[in-house]
Subunit: 626 residues, 2 copies
């Protein structure tokens, strides 16, 4: 699968389209076959696949999520993203959001001395210069930039801006970049997306003063491989003007992988959007285990200049060790944060228990991350963008923590994968550790509490596909289901659910043991795929191992617990609090709302399925008509 | 002597005035007392003090000379200077010049991505990228910059531009600065004016490949002192994109001096316009002794932010030694390149024997330097600039070499000064070494050969001032004179010449043993000083030691040999090929052209004085009326 014409930009950020038109009234007819959608009036598809419970700007293009922070004064969480620069919103509950500026106007734009052509991702020091939220971001002066081509010296630098007016504006500081380029003589593949953090263990290991700020910068080195570069605030300079390079905190050899078995994608050639954070089983804990999320860029061979075929949204956990006098990250497990090929560029932040959202929900310190779901496949897909008048969305916020699974001691546990054997017990069982990720509890609860219609579908043992007794009447709902498989040896079995289905279209979500994968089959998802370029219909596939669980009588196969959110064109499939695959499903017909059991090639036991229809309008403050 | 309001700019470069008006016909009356000149029509003073044999743009302001080079194709010497960016001219003989562009339009302007606000000094690699002259220059993105204030991070970076169209344009390369800032965590006072050079001894000492390019960058460190930072072309990168920092090649403690006796000014707080080159007794020799010219900035106490009272144009010679693993310059002698307080920012270049000028004059490899003579005292003087329509000039080109003087072994030789005892001879005499500097031989010869009037005035022993039998009728001439003093103990004696004198005005140039100084007394130089701000009338004073010369009967005092060029308002006084003091003398009256012997307080013997009147129009290609 080789896509031609991939953009040279690491994200679609710099291409952010100008707002086009408000929502149009000449709505297409969803009860008959779609025309070539590019022939429709501008903005006529505005509502067709628009999510209502997700973060996205009022119109126009969304790029990477980035720059989130909790305002130290208001305790509101700022959820930000690239959009004509960078824009964002505040939330007091992770459910509803208020745009910082009308029409999602950005709080920072490209065009300054340091960032002539683009503002890329950054991160925020909450109590920064003079106690003000201070943004460290990638200021871009030259394009193109991509790991497949010669790096343009000085194209990416790291600069500062400080919040004014409650974060509605970030004012660029009147000086040059604080990190004016990669370390001396590094022939980098990229050098962007600074992610700041504090950590007492780092302070101790690196002999830093308590409370020192660090940043990693994502990139790589030509001929070597992808890397995260570690910097430290120099001598606790309160102006954050000087950052000390501490070495390549993490490097991988180019074009390698954690495991060729596919549990953790590929490291690729260049890292992007690296986040470093610390988790325990409850959530964020500075004394916890070191985790990383990052985007990896790679290509099939031969590498074509300016084409990055693939991007992976990965995570890793590990330990910090001194090697050759440098602090280095040594992963002990790694995986995909989302298996969707359009899901990328996760940006997370420590959300303190003192935040408004956490106070309301009585949540502990958490690390909350938002992924980007590119709407036009990183700018390479010739999507009918003018007709939709917006492109892309963020996915729902996810809470990350360390997950533990008690399983039977079988060879499945000991293969290298997106888990680690954490402990062996005297009773012969094992505890695995992995990254636990789930949709933040507030939106999950809100979707249930605010459902306009609730469906409960009883399950049972099925050997063929079955329609639900009742299906949703809309394309906005939360669904939970569970599947228990009698055997892992039936490689013909595919079992799961059909969604967004009807006489003309269907989307199948199923698990199969043949390759231990969860699949979203989009081959029949959209009648528009036949008429219109850019309506992608390829499968989304992600590896998920269902382990053997100890029981009274030997072992059973871990139940597959699915949490599916359908929100317009956005479909998120979460499984067992450690797997997610998200994508666009662009069903056309109004009647493509059916849900059903999907079973082929064997037998599976379904638990009760529940559907909460309606979700929540995440943007109550946005004016109608937009 | 404390001047208020000095500019924050290191030079007047960034202030380059836009061209105003062409020369006006409403010429003032130079036969009656001047009005306040600021009341005159714009451009009416265009000719009043304009030099004809010097380098300056067609109109407007000239800043530092910089970026000279010999074109490898044409072998023409490009003499360049800051002017609305940077502009310049070519010369085949060091006498006449041809503007690169009509009206001295610049070949590079500020306003690019790397140099939003200013282009500062740079230097040229003749066979640079793809064999093309390649400019490494200071690209300025933020102002103000001065050693008296906090340094703005990223304000000065070093960038590349390459010559096109024979140097009539320099195209900035489409990437960021190749030296994006000072070394890590250096709190610099300045970081500018890269001066590139090659040197086989450096290659050997630093274990570099043969032919490696080096650059020094001038500046200093707050709380430490002025410094020259040494960089090396990294791995002979033919694109010159990466430069390796090799340390502070030369540093001095802030606010110190080579000697408090005043032979070498003060090192000050910040270095500017440092040049590094290699001389022997003939001229430029890569295997010769290491010399430096540099500008030093300092202030009287207390230091007032944004006020740099003083600038010194200094030279030093010395050796390169490894100290703490770094190559460091250790001076063995130092002095002032010009004692004039307006003379600054010398920019030199190796002028190869293969250059057109040197081929014509059969000259060896030389190091030719041009100084700047600021026309408005670094922008602090409220000069009637609109009336003149130009500001400042370069001084005549000077040839630098190692000078040797054979003298008697007296204590005078052993004091620390702008010389060094090079050898002691068995006959009891000494050879001193110093910087030999003289006006380039081509203009000196041309002024003599092209004189429109020649005056020979016999000398003799005089004990009082005497008019010449014949004086020049213009204010454009070359004059040579010699004075032999009977004794160095008569501290009342002042002896020299009066120039630009008449019934209303006079300028006295004299030597005195009381402080071993050569003085230009401007207190009565200009009737306009009384009516008009910015016509400076303070003395110019420089120290010059006349040594004891061995003879048959004991010793005699070294003869003072003066070479004086009067060219409109520019007066250059050169002595004994090792001293220069240059300044503006803005005589007003048409009849202020008299020359005479000046003697007070004693007796002195004058040799024959010769005057060559007329000089040479350095700009034959410029259209009349400008």
């Amino acid at each position: 699968m080789k896509l031609a014409g991939s953009l040279v930009l690491p994200t679609a950020a710099a291409l952010a389209a100008k707002p086009l038109l408000p929502r149009q009234n000449n709505i297409p007819d969803y009860n008959s076959a779609p025309p070539n959608l590019t022939t429709l009036a501008n903005a006529s598809l505005f509502d067709t696949w628009r999510p209502r419970a997700h973060v996205l700007p009022a119109y126009g293009q969304i790029g990477d999520p980035a720059m989130h922070y909790t305002d130290p004064d208001t305790h509101l969480f700022h959820v930000n993203y690239l959009h004509e620069g960078a824009s964002g919103a505040t939330t007091s509950d992770l459910v509803t959001y208020a745009d910082l500026n009308p029409n999602s106007e950005p709080f920072i734009r490209a065009g300054g001395i340091n960032d002539h052509v683009a503002v890329f991702d950054g991160s925020v020091i909450e109590a920064g210069i003079n106690g003000t939220p201070t943004l460290l971001y990638t200021s871009v002066n030259y394009l193109p930039i991509q790991w497949t081509i010669k790096y343009t010296k000085g194209s990416e630098t790291q600069s500062l801006a400080i919040a004014i007016d409650g974060g509605r504006n970030f004012t660029k500081l009147e000086h040059g970049p604080v990190i004016p380029g990669p370390p001396f003589a590094y022939n980098v593949t990229g050098f962007r997306d600074p992610f700041v953090f504090q950590n007492p263990t780092f302070d101790q290991e690196l002999d830093s003063s308590n409370g020192t700020w660090y940043t990693i910068i994502s990139g790589g080195i030509h001929g070597e491989g992808p890397s995260l570069f570690l910097y430290r605030q120099y001598e606790q300079d309160p102006q954050f003007e000087t950052w000390e390079y501490l070495g390549q905190w993490w490097s991988e050899e180019a074009d390698t992988t954690w495991t060729e078995a596919g549990w953790a994608g590929r490291w690729g050639f260049n890292f992007e959007v690296g986040n470093v954070f610390f988790l325990d089983s409850e959530g964020y804990n500075a004394a916890g285990e070191t985790f990383v999320t990052l985007g990896a860029e790679w290509s099939y061979s031969p590498i074509v200049p300016q084409v990055s075929d693939n991007r992976e949204m990965l995570w890793a956990a590990g330990t910090n060790k001194f090697v050759d006098g440098k602090l280095q990250f040594v992963p002990s497990m790694a995986g995909r944060l989302d298996a969707g090929r359009s899901a990328y560029a996760a940006a997370g932040k420590h959300l303190p228990s003192s935040s408004q959202a956490s106070q309301s929900s009585d949540a502990p310190d958490r690390f909350i991350t938002y992924l980007w779901l590119t709407g036009d496949f990183y700018g390479t897909s010739d999507f009918p963008t003018p007709q939709q008048n917006w492109t892309g969305s963020l996915l729902l916020p996810r809470e990350l923590s360390v997950g533990y699974i008690n399983i039977a001691n079988t060879p499945l546990a000991w293969q290298k994968g997106s888990w680690r054997v954490d402990s062996q017990h005297t009773n012969g069982t094992l505890t695995l550790a992995t990254l636990r990720q789930r949709i933040a509890k507030e939106p999950l609860a809100a979707f249930q509490q605010n459902a306009t219609n609730t469906i409960t579908q009883s399950g049972g043992t099925l050997s063929s596909s079955q329609p639900f007794d009742q299906s949703p009447s809309t394309k906005h709902y939360l669904l939970t289901a569970s599947l228990t498989f009698p055997s892992r040896t039936n490689h013909a079995l595919k079992a799961g659910l059909s969604i967004l289905s009807g006489p003309n279209e269907r989307t199948d979500i199923y698990y199969q043991f043949s390759n231990e994968s969860l699949v979203i089959d989009r081959s029949n998802s959209s009648a528009a795929a036949a008429t219109t370029p850019g309506i992608l219909s390829d499968d989304e596939v992600g590896k998920l191992r269902l382990f053997d669980i100890p029981g009274g009588n030997g072992t059973s196969i871990e139940t597959l617990n699915l949490t599916i959110v359908v929100d317009g064109g956005v479909v998120e499939v979460h499984a067992n609090e450690r797997f997610a695959v998200s994508t666009w499903v662009r069903s056309w017909y109004e009647d493509s709302t059916d849900v059903g059991f999907f079973v082929e090639g064997g037998e599976v036991e379904f638990g009760e399925v529940r559907v909460w229809e309606g979700l929540v309008d995440a943007w109550p403050g946005r004016s109608e008509g937009l």
